[in-house]
């Protein structure tokens, strides 16, 4: 560990630390443009010059290019270095246009800050400035190339870090241009990070264009709740609306970056009737009512049903986007009042998968995204990281950049922003491939590993009887055997019920072989981990609940941040079931069909208005602070308010969990927010933490081998010439957030059904053909995309908001070949 002296202060830093980072550890921020911790150093901008007084280097050098070494004495304030930096900034400013007043970056601009701090005050160069033509870069990013200072951060991020190949540096010298080959949308779903990473205003946020200045914003550390990763954000609000999102640094979770779905998918939370669609007023039977009236009406109706038909006639339905607070309150309400629920899952299989994924994960095998980046072998099973949890794909790329092999086993044509070996296999075969791979990697000497290994071999022996693994699997097994820190990324969307548990035990087996293997599950939503923790076994899923409604057992429903019209595969049945109910209440912030039909609708507040805790898929509890108080957005002409009001208009919205407490008559008895009272004591780790719990991973008990994989209920049989209809997620266009965030709409691609090349030949279909698939509920018309990376005998269809996939009538559907017709 080298020790060096910077500005007369001594510090000891880890081997390989750059001098610029060593100084930052001391709180000395050396000016920089091109250097970024995530991107590394290139020494392009010459801004981080410091004077090396003693040691192996002498004189003015770039602190980002030199690693800290013993005996170094560095001065950042030396006159020579200061003068050097002043000249550099003067040169960088040579071509910068007179743009600050019209530039959105103004006020949060690194170039502005460094110009001031560098002491460059007067332009001396009288010559003309070079100018460029700007490009159209899609709906999210505005390109203004004249402002560029040629630091290369954008192309380094875009090409090297994120792994996309359509934006980069062109020309040389003074003509250097960062852009695309021709105008068009950026292909990367991480393009929004260009806004954060650009030290000046070349790339600005188009969704927030000209709407704000940094100093006008209310900012708060927030969370992205669109997938299970729980990336950290900074939410920026203005005029009671969320205006933009920035990534917030969290070394263990998302690092410095954020995906575009998370960054631009916030407008659902804004409620200006003219611009956005968020419902802001409580409604009783479709008529606008006061908040208190709506709550008391709901309370009375539910009490009546409970009194007449017993408490079990009322059920509480949640979803994958509930916060931990809502989930805990639903649990508490159901326990106290005897109501049925809480129902977190629509699909019974998904419930099983989530529960096993959550309960099989323990503190020893769970890994964070940071650990994925440092893995030396990555095995993706039944997961499509880029579509299900985009930032995990970014983490995989970082591992791949460090030469970690990436293997994907999935029916989908999984594509990652890095080289990977793909095995297109049916969901039922994923375990066989995984098992065979692990078995081969364990090698012969693993026989001595103990009973777990024996069980595993015995189980696999039966499974692999008729299984002929391809050659390439042997190659992968050798790489896995050679690795020391492999990570298995296991999905829950298309896998069998047992796969998450199986994957967990595979990880444990690898650990028996003296590896530090890790498991990283991808769950269906931000609240999935909490739902898995708090789900009680006797509680039915929504699929069961529909039956109860039909046979009259359940007469009243509460939907807490839940929209079955989005998730339930049989719309006709759902409509008739809901019409049979005496009463149902919707607590939501989406203008969903459920909210529209509800007997009473109460507009719950969003994550931006009332803080919320989420457990991400590795069990890390994180708290999103509220950023604004909510209420009706201030329209132009209303600010500053001319009339005094103690209450923000429309600002009395409660979060779903508080509304629920009030409806259940528990606002008196309900504990004030405190996790140890909320979360049942059966889940360890919360009682020691105060509220809000943030950034910590409550200790997950060591669970050990479960070997539950023998108890497979999954029907593996599939008639010949039938296709399994696999419903999958896309990064844009399938989630509820995407459905109601108009800001994401331009990025949503039309739905495509992916089939394998062989199947396409068999069915006589070609790429871009439009087909009609006959389902139980009607015909589904969709364009075909043929890929040789898709597994055979599956039809892969996104749960696209522009597609009426709710005709499929069941969560698992098979379609025979004659039902697929080209039109």
């Amino acid at each position: 560990m080298p020790r060096l002296i910077i500005d007369e202060r001594e510090i000891e830093v880890p081997e390989g630390t750059k001098v610029i980072d060593a100084a930052e550890m001391l709180g000395i921020v050396i000016p920089r443009f091109c250097y970024h911790e995530a991107l590394g150093s290139v020494g392009a901008c010459r801004m981080c010059a410091v004077k090396f007084i003693q040691g192996p280097f002498k004189g003015v050098q770039m602190s980002c290019m030199i690693e800290a070494q013993d005996g170094m004495v560095v001065s950042t304030t030396d006159q020579e270095a200061v003068e050097f930096r002043k000249r550099v900034i003067e040169l960088l400013m040579k071509n910068h246009p007179l743009d600050c007043p019209v530039c959105d970056e103004g006020g949060q601009c690194l170039l502005q800050d460094e110009t001031i701090s560098g002491g460059h005050a007067m332009r001396r160069f009288p010559g003309p400035k070079r100018t460029y033509r700007d490009q159209y870069l899609g709906p999210f990013i505005k390109h203004e190339m004249n402002r560029c200072i040629h630091c290369y951060r954008c192309s380094r991020f875009y090409q090297e870090f994120a792994g996309y190949r359509d934006l980069g540096p062109m020309q040389i010298g003074d003509r250097l241009y960062f852009g695309r080959f021709s105008d068009g949308c950026l292909e990367s779903p991480f393009s929004g990070n260009l806004v954060d990473i650009c030290p000046t205003g070349v790339y600005t946020d188009k969704t927030a264009r000209f709407k704000l200045r940094r100093w006008d914003l209310q900012r708060a550390p927030g969370l992205c709740n669109q997938c299970s990763l729980g990336c950290n954000t900074v939410a920026n609000a203005h005029y009671r609306g969320v205006m933009r999102m920035e990534a917030r640094f969290n070394r263990d979770v998302n690092g410095y970056f954020l995906c575009d779905a998370g960054r631009f998918g916030f407008s659902y939370a804004n409620g200006d009737p003219g611009l956005w669609r968020r419902p802001l007023f409580p409604k009783i039977a479709g008529e606008v009512a006061g908040a208190a009236d709506a709550l008391s009406a709901a309370r009375k109706a539910l009490d009546d049903i409970a009194a007449k038909n017993g408490p079990g006639a009322v059920a509480v339905v949640g979803s994958q986007r509930n916060s931990l607070e809502t989930q805990s309150m639903m649990n508490l309400v159901c326990e106290t009042r005897g109501w049925l629920g809480p129902v977190f899952f629509f699909d019974p299989a998904m419930r099983l998968k989530t529960l096993s994924a959550v309960h099989e994960l323990d503190g020893e095998i769970a890994v964070s995204m940071k650990q994925i980046e440092n893995a030396d072998f990555i095995l993706v099973v039944g997961a499509d990281p880029l579509n299900e949890a985009p930032m995990s794909a970014m983490a995989i790329r970082q591992a791949a950049r460090k030469k970690a092999p990436v293997v994907t086993i999935d029916p989908r044509p999984v594509s990652l922003p890095c080289d990977s070996q793909h095995f297109a296999v049916l969901p039922k075969d994923i375990e066989s491939y995984l098992g065979a791979l692990i078995l081969k990697a364990m090698g012969k000497d693993a026989a001595s590993l103990g009973s777990e290994s024996e069980n595993f071999r015995a189980y696999l022996g039966s499974q692999l009887e008729n299984f002929n693994p391809p050659e390439s699997l042997d190659q992968c097994a050798r790489l896995l055997a050679a690795s020391s820190k492999p990570v298995i990324i296991c999905g829950t969307d298309v896998t069998m019920e047992t796969t998450p548990a199986f994957a967990a035990d595979c990880v444990r087996l690898l650990n028996l072989c003296e590896k530090q293997a890790g498991l990283f599950n991808l769950l269906p939503g931000a609240g999935s981990f909490g739902a898995g923790l708090l789900s009680r076994t006797e509680v039915p899923t929504f699929a069961d609940l529909v039956e109860y409604i039909e046979n009259g057992r359940v007469r009243g429903l509460v939907f807490a941040e839940s929209d079955p019209f989005h998730c339930y595969p049989d719309r006709a049945r759902l409509e008739s079931a809901l019409s049979k109910l005496d009463f149902f209440l919707a607590l939501d912030y989406f203008p969903s069909e459920t909210a529209r039909r509800a007997s009473v609708f109460y507009p719950a507040s969003t994550i931006f208005e009332t803080g919320a805790t989420f457990l991400n898929q590795e069990g890390r509890a994180q708290f999103a602070s509220p950023v604004h108080c909510g209420g009706e957005p201030i329209r132009p002409g209303e600010h500053p308010p001319r009339v005094y009001s103690g209450l923000v208009p429309g600002g009395d919205h409660l979060p779903a969990w508080k509304a629920l407490a009030s409806i259940a008559g528990m606002e008196e008895t309900c504990p004030d927010i405190a996790p140890e009272k909320f979360v049942p004591p059966s889940i360890p780790g919360f009682e020691a933490l105060g509220y809000p719990v943030d950034g910590q991973r409550p200790a997950l008990a060591k669970s050990g081998f479960k070997t539950q994989w023998g108890l497979n209920t999954f029907d593996k049989s599939q008639a010949p010439l039938t296709f399994e209809l696999l419903m999958v997620e896309w990064i844009f266009g399938t989630s509820e957030f995407s459905a109601w965030s108009d800001s994401l709409a331009p990025a949503v691609l039309p739905p495509l059904m992916s089939i394998s090349a062989k199947d396409a030949v068999r069915l006589g279909l070609a790429d871009k053909d439009k087909v009609s698939v006959e389902l139980a509920g009607g015909e589904l018309e969709i364009v075909v995309s043929v890929s040789d990376r898709t597994a055979e005998s599956v039809l892969i269809v996104p749960r696209h908001n522009g597609l009426e996939w709710q005709k499929s009538h069941d969560f698992r559907v098979f379609v025979s070949s004659e039902k697929i017709r080209k039109i």
Binding site: P101, T115, G119, W215
Partner: protein
Amino acid sequence: MSESKTVTLNMGPHHPATHGVLRVVLELDGETIVNATPVIGYLHRGIEKICESRTYQQILPLTDRLDYSAASANNLGYCVAVEKLLGIEVPKRAQYLRVIMAEFARIMGHHLWLGTHALDIGAMTVIFYAFRDREMIMAMNEEIAGYRLTPSFIRIGGVAYEATDDFIAKVRKFVAWFPKALEGYHQLLTDNKIWTTRTMNIGKISAEEAINHGLTGPSLRGSGVAYDVRKAFPYSSYGDFDFKIPIGENGDVYDRYLVRMEEFKQSIAIIAQAIENLPSGPVMTDNPLVASPSQPEVQTDISALIRRFMVNAKGTPVPSGELYSAVEGAKGELGFYLVGDGSEQPYRLKIRSSCFYLASALPRLLVGHMVADAIAIIGSLDVVLGEIDR
């Protein structure tokens, strides 16, 4: 059987002789004051708290509104404090212009005191002449700063604008003319028997007591203590000027009157020296963190534009540290206790208001006097509620 009972008299807050919204609760035994309690806070605007959420530049107009009768002196006090914390040097020309503005502010403040104080006691004439001359200074404020009462002319790092020729001509004219006007005030009051009878040996306070009560400015000097911040801790080039500190002997209303009358004379002498020896050069520091560049620069030079942007939008980051810095305001020692935390906004700004100490001495001064004398005593202390209440 006779019972002795005191009468409580509420003087103010809307009383023509309390000059603002000062309220004094008087307890009277007959016509003699046995107890007096000043009540303040009717003009409280929370300036100190507002300062914590404003940039250093934005605070400046607020300081105008402390002792609004002598606004430039407050500007100067605040700017000197911030500049000390920033560690920047103000150009000499700006320092001289500041002195001119601050001394004009003192004269303006004394004009207001003289006119209203005499009016309270019954001498109606003086206020017309005092205000006639005060108007001339206001016109000069307007000429150089664009505003009459609250010029906000002195800015952090210098002054807002260059002095115009017209301004300098006006100052010269005023300097030449004012001693004559001052002679007029003396003619009207100084030897007048009614005036001396109403003021001599009224509201007497000894030097020791005055110090103990924290009195500063003319009220302290009236008791014979030669303390003036301009001499004791010279700032803004006050050391360059030749002027004298007037002191009294008796510490009564009349001596305080005489001290202020002499201060008129000294102030005008300072202005005369400053305007004649006005150095050439810039009127604003060239420190890029402080100075907002000129309009032509901003419209052609991106570096200047960025400076404009940062200075106005973000403000000037001031190093962390704390200091107390005082100037001699029209009423006494006006101190600014400033705590910087490295950001663009002060962590705390405490204003040492000289008037607050003057008002707190009222119970001591009033007791034993007649109600009618209370008017003379309050007037002689020259309190301004804008500064007390803040």
